[in-house]
Every structure is written in structure tokens, then in C-alpha cells.
Assembly symmetry: C2
Homo-oligomer: 244 residues x 2
């Protein structure tokens, strides 16, 4: 018997945004590993063991998954959104780097609908031109680097999608990010707050950057800042395909 490891994305929350490919991997799994609220989205069944774990133990979780796969289990590591965007795929490859024996395993990454794309769709099309995607948490990088990236992205007139804008432990980071953006962008630049997208708790708010306050974001919010051409049409926000 040969074990396997699939690193899959469950999408932003709605069950009808989970791809059939991911659904099939879950149906075939013997073990599902992941952060507790994501594992809770997988239905219990005979022959399946669920292994929920706490936040911020990504590397331990990845090693546990690799170990079970080496023992012959069919393991699925679940992330919300897409596993390759600020989620578990990089953590598994980090664990793999120090574990040559595990490199022979059958490992697949199965993509999912990442939060910024579900948010953009709910809002209209704010990412319809060149854009960047930045994690505002300074858990894994220095704050100076975040500020530098914000300034450079603004200089390049890129739309920006922000993950983890405001954690409970570091609420001041997003206020600083807004200051940097206000210094680089015009006051009427559109900024959108998309919370709990595709779930019953979904809420959407778009304001001019000059009116944005940190409290508009929480841990379940993706923030999308438009480029200089982003505008409203009816209830939607979109970025034109062209630029001058």
C-alpha cells in the first residue's frame, strides 16, 4: 500500500464553490488534517479520521500529515480558499525540505477559489487589470517590508488585495497600512471590504480611501484597493481592462 498527500483548497466558504476534484480527494481520504474551522467543513464518515489542530502550528501539522502518508494513509490537508495562497501548501513543502524520505511520496496540490477572487466576484471586477496580493500580517515578515511593498505597488498603480488585514493580536497594523496608502494614493480611490464572502454572514462595503477606517476590517475580511481607474457602475465596482 502506498500513501498519498493531497493539499486542497475548500474555497471561501460556500459548498458549491468546492471543486469536484477536491470533493473526490476528500471522498477517498483516510485522514483529513487542518486548522479546526476548516476540518469542521468536512463531513464525518466511516473510514475517515479527522485531525483538527489549532492555528499557527502549520509546520507541525504538515509534518504530521507527511508522517501519516509515509505510513500508507491517504491524507488530505485542507485550507480555506486556495492552498497555495497564504495557506498550507508552502508549509508542507517547507517540512518536505528537511525530510528526504518523504520526497518520494505521491503529493498533489489541488487549487481552490481563493478569498480575493470570491471577494472580487461579489464586488464586481476590481481585479480586472494588473494587481498584487499582499498579506498584511507581520508574523512572517518585517513590517518595513510590508510598507515598502505598499508604496511600490501604489507607484506602479496596481490594484491590491490584502489578506489578514487586521488580527486580534495586532490591530494597529492595518491603521498603519491605511496611512501609507493614503500618502501614496488619491483620497477618492475606491477601497472595498469584503467580509465572510460566500457565507450567510457576507457583507460588502466600498468607500473612498479617505473615508476608510481600520474598524471596517476584521480577521474574516479581504480588502481590495482599486487602481487609479477603478470605479462604480450601479452597485458594482470594477477596474477597466485598459490603462493609459
Amino acid at each position: 500500500m502506498t500513501g498519498s498527500l493531497d493539499i486542497v483548497g475548500l474555497g471561501p466558504g460556500a459548498e458549491d464553490m468546492v471543486t469536484p476534484e477536491v470533493r473526490a480527494a476528500l471522498a477517498d481520504a483516510t485522514d483529513v488534517v487542518g486548522y479546526l474551522p476548516y476540518v469542521a467543513r468536512v463531513a464525518a464518515r466511516a473510514g475517515l479520521t479527522l485531525h483538527p489542530s489549532d492555528n499557527r502550528v502549520e509546520l507541525d501539522r504538515a509534518r504530521h500529515a507527511l508522517q501519516m502518508a509515509l505510513q500508507g494513509q491517504r491524507v488530505v490537508v485542507v485550507s480555506s480558499g486556495d492552498p497555495g495562497v497564504f495557506a498550507m501548501a508552502s508549509a508542507v513543502f517547507e517540512a518536505l525540505e528537511d525530510w528526504p524520505a518523504a520526497q518520494a511520496l505521491n503529493i498533489r496540490v489541488l487549487p481552490g477559489i481563493t478569498a480575493m477572487l470570491a471577494a472580487a466576484a461579489a464586488l464586481g471586477a476590481p481585479l480586472g487589470h494588473d494587481f498584487c496580493c499582499i498579506n498584511l500580517s507581520d508574523n512572517l515578515k518585517p513590517w518595513d517590508l510590508i510598507e515598502r511593498r505598499l508604496r511600490l505597488a501604489a507607484e506602479g498603480d496596481l490594484a491590491m488585495a490584502f489578506y489578514n488585514p487586521r488580527s486580534a493580536s495586532r490591530p494597529e497594523g492595518f491603521a498603519k497600512a491605511l496611512e501609507v496608502l493614503r500618502a501614496s494614493c488619491e483620497e477618492n480611490r475606491l477601497i472595498s471590504f469584503a467580509r465572510a464572502v460566500s457565507t450567510p454572514d457576507q457583507s460588502l462595503l466600498t468607500v473612498p480611501l479617505g473615508q476608510a477606517v481600520p474598524e471596517m476590517a476584521d480577521m474574516r475580511t479581504v480588502v481590495i484597493l482599486g487602481n487609479s481607474a477603478t470605479r462604480s457602475v450601479g452597485k458594482f465596482v470594477y477596474t477597466p481592462r485598459f490603462a493609459r
Copy 2:
């Protein structure tokens, strides 16, 4: 009878990457509109009219879709990948801007797996840290702006995903982009060419930037340039979650 317009993403090619949400919209449609090869992915059935059109007529196609929805049809506009990433959603909102009567329509954007995320998953996790997404076609923006964005993204040490790297009509653009990137990044930076991802024609190639040649990309290729920390582990390429 009230018409509706859904702008949906079919994902990169594999049928098991089409979300159930998009599948349901297609099953309920009276009319499907889109670029010919994407419309060809929708099965014919009684009660459904397919409206394939040529490339580069996005705005005409959007107006046609809005017109049919105003007449009471249930219209679905299809894009490959995600409709909000260099695809039809922005074109529909552009058309809507000049057509107040159509702004009362029931319009939804349904996300899909965009090519860069499917490519990243097939390669490992090269977009596992902050990144940007740039369309290298100069059909809709001046070439100078593309070069400026490449330089700024390199300065910010962002990984980069490139759409439309090399069109038949403008093969020289990608050669110029590689020159700009080589001037800004070290020679051994990893660059990946992911062609026809998730289809039977899929091919993956990763080389150091110094060895990349324009002929490695064609119209079906997504190109992903790593950041300064991106590396190989086994047959995979990944970008660590952390940065210094």
C-alpha cells in the same frame, strides 16, 4: 419574465475544476456567450443557444449578452479561468456603464480557478508569499507601463505571475520583459513555464532566469517568476511563507 446575466469562470480546462455553482448556472441558461473555444466546452442541449464569437470583440460580446438578458433570457457569459482576471467581467461592466437601462438587471459574477492558481498548484506553491499578477499584452496598455510594473515588482521582491506572455502578433514583447527582469533579478531566480495546465497537453518547465528564452512561452502558457527565496524541493517549486 425577468432576464439575468451570469459571468462565470470555467477554470483552466479540466472539467473537475469547474465549480458546482458555475455548473448550475450553465444548466439553467437559455443562452451562452463567449470566445469560441470556451463556448465549445459547454455541452449542447435543448433549450440552450450557444453564441460563440471571435477573439478581441469583448465589448460587442458583452453588449449582446446584456441585450439578450434585457429581452428576458437567462444569459451566461463564459470565460476560461476566473471571469474577473483578464477576462469578461470587466468588459461587461464597461458595457454596463453606457447603458443605464441594463443596470437594473440581475447580474452575478461567479468565480473560477484562474490559470495562475492552477499553474502554481501543478508546480508546487510558487505563489505562497506576496505576489503580483501582470498581463504582458500591450493591447490595452502602453508597453512602458508594463516595464515600469516589472521593475517595481522586482524591487519589492514580489513573485510574479504573467498572463498572455507571448502572442502570435507580438512575439517580441516577452523577450523585452525577460531583459527587464534579468536587469532587476539575480540569474538563478527560478522561472516556471506552465502550459495548458490541467489539460492533456499540460507541460511544466522550471529554469533559472538566466537560462529562460522567449520560446519557452506561447499563448497557452502562464509564466511564474519566483521571489528571491523561491526554491526547489524534489520535483516541486515553492516560495517560503516567511521573508526577512
